[in-house]
C-alpha cells in the first residue's frame, strides 16, 4: 500500500504521472488493448508496480513502445513478447504457465483436492455415534458446566 517510494523519487527527474494524456491513442479500441496489456507488465525499476500505474520514466517509455507496436499491427501476444524479449520474464506479472511454473498454477487446486480428501476422511471417521464418548472426570464436568452455563 505504501507505494513506490523509489518511483516517486525517480519522478523528480521528469514529471510523468502514470498514463499521460499525450500517450493516449486516438483509437479507443487500440487504447483499451494497450491499457489491458500495460496492466500485466511490471515496471522494471519499481517495486511491484505495473507500467500502467508507475510514474517512472522507463514505464512511460514502455507504454509508448507498447502503443507503437500495437499501432504497427502487432497482436497482444506479439506486443508482450517484444517487451519480454528485452526485459525477460521478470516484467510479466502473470508468469507464463510453462515449465516449472505449472507447479505454481497447480499448487492451489492440488492442495484444495488434498484438503478436501483429508477433510472428507476425517468427517467420515466422525460419523460414528460410538465415538461420541465423554471421558471427563466428574470434577472436570462440573467445571465445564459452570463455564458453559449461560
Amino acid at each position: 500500500m505504501r507505494y513506490l517510494i523509489l518511483c516517486l523519487a525517480l519522478l523528480l527527474t521528469g514529471p510523468s504521472w502514470a498514463v499521460q494524456p499525450d500517450e493516449v491513442l486516438s483509437d479507443p479500441a487500440l487504447e483499451a488493448r494497450a491499457r489491458e496489456i500495460s496492466k500485466i507488465l511490471r515496471c522494471p525499476v519499481c517495486q511491484g508496480e505495473t507500467i500502467d500505474e508507475s510514474n517512472a520514466p522507463i514505464s512511460r517509455d514502455l507504454r509508448l513502445y507498447l502503443r507503437e507496436r500495437l499501432v504497427a499491427g502487432d497482436s497482444d501476444s506479439e506486443a508482450v513478447k517484444s517487451v519480454t524479449d528485452r526485459f525477460g520474464e521478470y516484467v510479466l506479472f502473470e508468469p507464463p504457465a510453462r515449465g516449472i511454473n505449472w507447479l505454481l498454477y497447480l499448487a492451489g487446486p492440488v492442495m484444495a483436492l488434498l484438503a478436501l480428501l483429508i477433510g472428507w476422511r476425517f468427517i467420515r471417521s466422525r460419523n460414528d455415534p460410538e465415538s461420541d464418548a465423554t471421558t471427563l472426570t466428574p470434577e472436570e464436568k462440573t467445571r465445564l458446566e459452570r463455564l458453559m452455563r449461560d
Partner: protein, 653 residues
C-alpha cells in the same frame, strides 16, 4: 536523558521478560504456587517498562529532540503534531518498539483480566508470551536500537516520508500490529495447551476472544491501508497483491479459519489438533509477514529496512518459535482425542469446509508471494507474480466460500438435512437472483464479474438476514433484539462480507476512467457528468507547497460537487504526493486528480467514476463491527465474573 531512560527501561523489560519466560514455566511444571503466580506481576511489569520506553521515544519525537538519530531521520519541526506522534512508528526501530509494546499489553491483559484461567495454564501462557517478548526485545536491543544518539544534534530533521503523513496511514500500522500480535495470544495458548497435554471446550472458549480481537484489528488495519491506497495514490486502486499486503492478508484468512474452528472445539470438542495447528500457523504467518517487511528478501515498497542481518534474526525467531511449536505439536497431537460425532451434513461439516477453503486460499496467497523467491533460488529464474495470477487463483475459493456460507451458517449441529436447511434460504436465493438480473440488465457489456459478484454478495446479505430471523424462532420481532450478541455479530460480519463482495466486483466491473489535458475553464463529459476545471492556484501548506485545482461537477444541468484535488510537494524530502478529491456517495464516488501543467497550456486531469467504491470499506467496517459485537457477548463476561464472585465469597465462609 529521556532517550537513555527509554533505553534503560527497555533493557529492564528484557530482563523481566527473561524471568517471565523461565520462572512460571518451571513453577507450572513443579506445581510451586509462588513461581506460578509470579507470571502475573512479571507480565504487568514488562508492560509498564516497555510503556516507559515507548513514552520516552514519543517524547523525543514530540519535542523534536534531533540528538536522537531516529528522530533526526524521521521527523521535522514543521510537521503537524499528529504526524510527529505517528512518526514514532513510521520507521523500522520505532515500529518494532510498538510491536513489543502491544505484545506486552496483550500479556498484561491476560494476566489481569483472565481471572478465570487455571493458574498453571495461565503461567504457561504468560511464559510463552514472555519468550516471544524476549526474542523481539533482543531483536530491538541488538539490531534496531531506537535510542541511538547523534554525535552532534542537527538543527532540523529529515522529515517523515510524506506518503506516511496521512491520517489513514497514521493508524494503519498500530491496528495491523494489534492483529499480528493478538495472534501471539492464540499461539501462546496453543503451546501452553500442548505442554499441558489437554485441549477442551474451556480452552477453546479462552482462545476465542483473543482470536476474535486479533481478527477484528487485522480487519480494521487492512481496511485502513486499502482505503489509504485508494485515496492517496491518485488512481483509486485499493488492493495490489503486493507481498506486504499479502503478508497481512494471510494471517487474516487464517485467523478467520481459527475463530471458526475454535467454535467447533468449544461446542463439540472435535477439530482440536487442527485448531492447535491453525493457531501456530496463524502466528507463524504473522512472523513471516514481519520477516517479509523487515528483511527485504521480497522487494516491496513497504520494506523499511533491506538489512540482511535483521532478516536473519527474524528468520531465526520464526524458526525457533514455529519450529519448536510444530515439534511439540507432532509429539503431542495424537493425545488430543476428538469427542463429538457428527454426520457429514452438519454444522461441524460446514465449518470443516470453511476451514479448508480459508486455509487453502491462504496457501494460494502464500505460494504466489514466495514463488519469485523460490524460482530465483531453485531454478535461477527472475520472475514476478502479480495481480493477474492472484485474481485467477484466489477468486474461485472466495466464490465457493460465499456459495456455502449461508447454508453452513444455519445448518444444525451434529446432523442436518440439506433440503430442510435450504427451505428458509429460498427467499435469500430469490433476492440474489433478482439482484443478478438487475445488475445484468443495467451493466453495459454484461460483465460476468459484476453479475456473479453482486449475486454472491446479495446471497450473503440475504443469508445473514435469514440466519437472524431463524434465531428468533417463533416469537418473531420481539425476540430479535434480545438475541445473544454473538448471533448479531455473526450475521453482521457475514453480511459485511457480502457488502464487500458487491463493492469489489461492481467497482472493478463498472468504473469509468478519463485522462485528458484540460484548459482552465474547459468543460468535459465523463459518463454523464460534466466536469469543469474552474481554476488552478498555488497555496502553501504547513510543511509543503500545494497546487490546488477547483473543479465543479454537474449532472443533468445541476451542480453535484465542487472538488479541490491537490498536488503537494514536500520540500524537505523533495517528494510530490497527490491528494485526490473524492466525493463519497453510497452508490458512486467521484474521484478527481490534478496532474502536471502541460507544455501547450492546460493541466493533465484524471477523472474517475467509481461505482460502489464505499461498499468495500463499509463491508470491512461491518465485518469488524460484527466481531466487536460478538466480543461483547455476555458469555465472555459472565463466565469471568461468576468465578470472581465465587472467589470473593470464599474467605467469608
Amino acid at each position: 536523558m529521556n532517550a537513555e531512560i527509554g533505553h534503560f527501561a527497555l533493557i529492564l523489560a528484557f530482563a523481566v521478560a527473561v524471568f517471565q519466560m523461565i520462572v512460571p514455566m518451571i513453577g507450572a511444571a513443579k506445581g510451586w504456587t509462588g513461581w506460578i503466580e509470579s507470571a502475573r506481576p512479571a507480565a504487568v511489569a514488562q508492560m509498564g517498562l516497555i510503556a516507559i520506553s515507548f513514552a520516552a521515544l514519543t517524547m523525543a519525537f514530540v519535542t523534536s529532540d534531533f540528538s536522537v538519530k531516529l528522530v533526526f531521520e524521521n521527523s521535522h519541526t514543521a510537521k503537524p503534531l499528529i504526524y510527529k506522534i505517528s512518526g514514532v512508528w513510521g520507521n523500522h526501530e520505532g515500529s518494532m518498539l510498538l510491536w513489543v509494546l502491544i505484545l506486552a499489553l496483550f500479556g498484561a491483559a491476560a494476566a489481569v483480566f483472565d481471572a478465570n484461567l487455571p493458574p498453571s495454564l495461565r503461567a504457561r501462557v504468560l511464559s510463552v508470551q514472555g519468550a516471544i517478548g524476549v526474542a523481539f526485545l533482543a531483536f530491538i536491543l541488538f539490531t534496531s536500537n531506537p535510542f541511538l544518539r547523534m554525535e552532534s544534534a542537527p538543527f532540523n530533521g529529515r522529515d517523515l516520508n510524506p506518503l506516511l503523513q496521512d491520517p489513514g496511514l497514521a493508524f494503519h500500522p498500530p491496528f495491523l500490529y494489534l492483529g499480528y500480535v493478538g495472534l501471539s495470544m492464540a499461539f501462546s495458548f496453543a503451546v501452553a495447551a500442548l505442554i499441558e497435554g489437554r485441549v477442551d471446550a474451556a480452552w477453546a472458549r479462552w482462545v476465542r476472544p483473543w482470536t476474535l480481537a486479533a481478527w477484528v484489528f487485522l480487519t480494521i488495519g487492512i481496511a485502513l491501508g486499502s482505503w489509504w491506497a485508494y485515496y492517496e495514490l491518485g488512481w483509486g486502486g485499493f488492493w495490489f497483491w503486493d507481498p506486504v499486503e499479502n503478508a497481512s492478508f494471510m494471517p487474516w484468512l487464517l485467523a478467520g479459519a481459527l475463530l471458526h474452528s475454535a467454535i467447533v472445539v468449544e461446542k463439540r470438542e472435535v477439530l482440536k489438533s487442527w485448531t492447535i495447528l491453525l493457531a501456530i500457523m496463524a502466528f507463524g504467518f504473522s512472523l513471516i509477514g514481519t520477516f517479509i517487511v523487515r528483511s527485504g528478501v521480497i522487494t516491496s515498497v513497504h520494506s523499511f529496512a533491506n538489512d540482511p542481518e535483521r532478516g536473519v534474526f527474524i528468520l531465526a525467531i520464526l524458526a525457533v518459535f514455529v519450529g519448536g511449536a510444530l515439534t511439540l505439536y507432532s509429539a503431542r497431537a495424537t493425545s488430543m482425542q476428538a469427542k463429538g460425532a457428527f454426520a457429514p451434513v452438519s454444522r461441524e461439516g460446514a465449518l470443516v469446509l470453511n476451514n479448508i477453503l480459508l486455509a487453502v486460499s491462504a496457501f494460494v496467497v502464500f505460494i504466489g508471494t514466495i514463488w519469485p523467491l523460490l524460482a530465483e533460488m531453485l531454478w535461477d529464474r527472475k520472475l514476478s507474480v502479480g495481480p493477474p495470477f492472484f485474481e485467477k487463483a484466489f477468486t474461485p475459493f472466495m466464490i465457493a466460500l460465499a456459495i456455502v456460507l449461508p447454508l453452513g451458517a444455519i445448518i444444525p449441529w451434529k446432523r442436518g438435512k440439506l433440503d430442510r436447511v435450504f427451505a428458509p434460504l429460498r427467499s435469500a436465493l430469490v433476492f440474489a437472483v433478482a439482484v443478478m438480473l438487475l445488475v445484468y440488465a443495467v451493466s453495459t457489456g454484461h460483465s460476468a464479474l459484476a453479475v456473479i459478484g453482486a449475486g454472491l454478495g446479495a446471497w450473503l446479505i440475504g443469508g445473514s438476514v435469514v440466519d437472524l430471523w431463524l434465531r428468533t424462532g417463533n416469537s418473531g420481532w420481539s425476540r430479535l433484539f434480545r438475541l445473544p450478541r454473538a448471533d448479531w455479530g455473526k450475521a453482521i460480519s457475514h453480511g459485511g462480507l457480502g457488502v464487500t463482495f458487491i463493492g469489489v466486483s461492481l467497482l472493478m466491473a463498472w468504473q469509468v476512467e478519463d485522462i485528458r489535458v484540460a484548459q482552465v475553464g474547459e468543460t468535459f463529459t465523463v459518463a454523464g457528468y460534466n466536469i469543469t476545471l474552474e481554476n488552478v492556484e498555488e497555496l502553501p501548506g504547513p510543511n509543503y507547497d500545494s497546487t490546488v485545482a477547483t473543479m465543479s461537477v454537474a449532472k443533468d444541468g445541476r451542480q453535484v460537487a465542487l472538488l479541490h484535488p491537490e498536488k503537494r510537494v514536500y520540500p524537505v524530502q523533495a517528494m510530490p504526493t497527490t491528494e485526490a478529491a473524492i466525493q463519497n456517495r453510497l452508490f458512486r464516488d467521484l474521484y478527481l486528480v490534478i496532474g502536471d501543467p502541460q507544455q501547450g497550456g492546460g493541466w493533465a486531469v484524471r477523472s474517475y467514476i467509481k461505482p460502489f467504491a464505499s461498499w468495500i470499506w463499509l463491508g470491512s467496517a461491518l465485518m469488524a463491527l460484527g466481531g466487536l459485537i460478538s466480543l461483547s457477548d455476555r458469555r465472555y463476561r459472565v463466565a469471568a465474573g461468576a468465578v470472581r464472585t465465587a472467589n470473593a465469597i470464599r474467605p467469608a465462609e
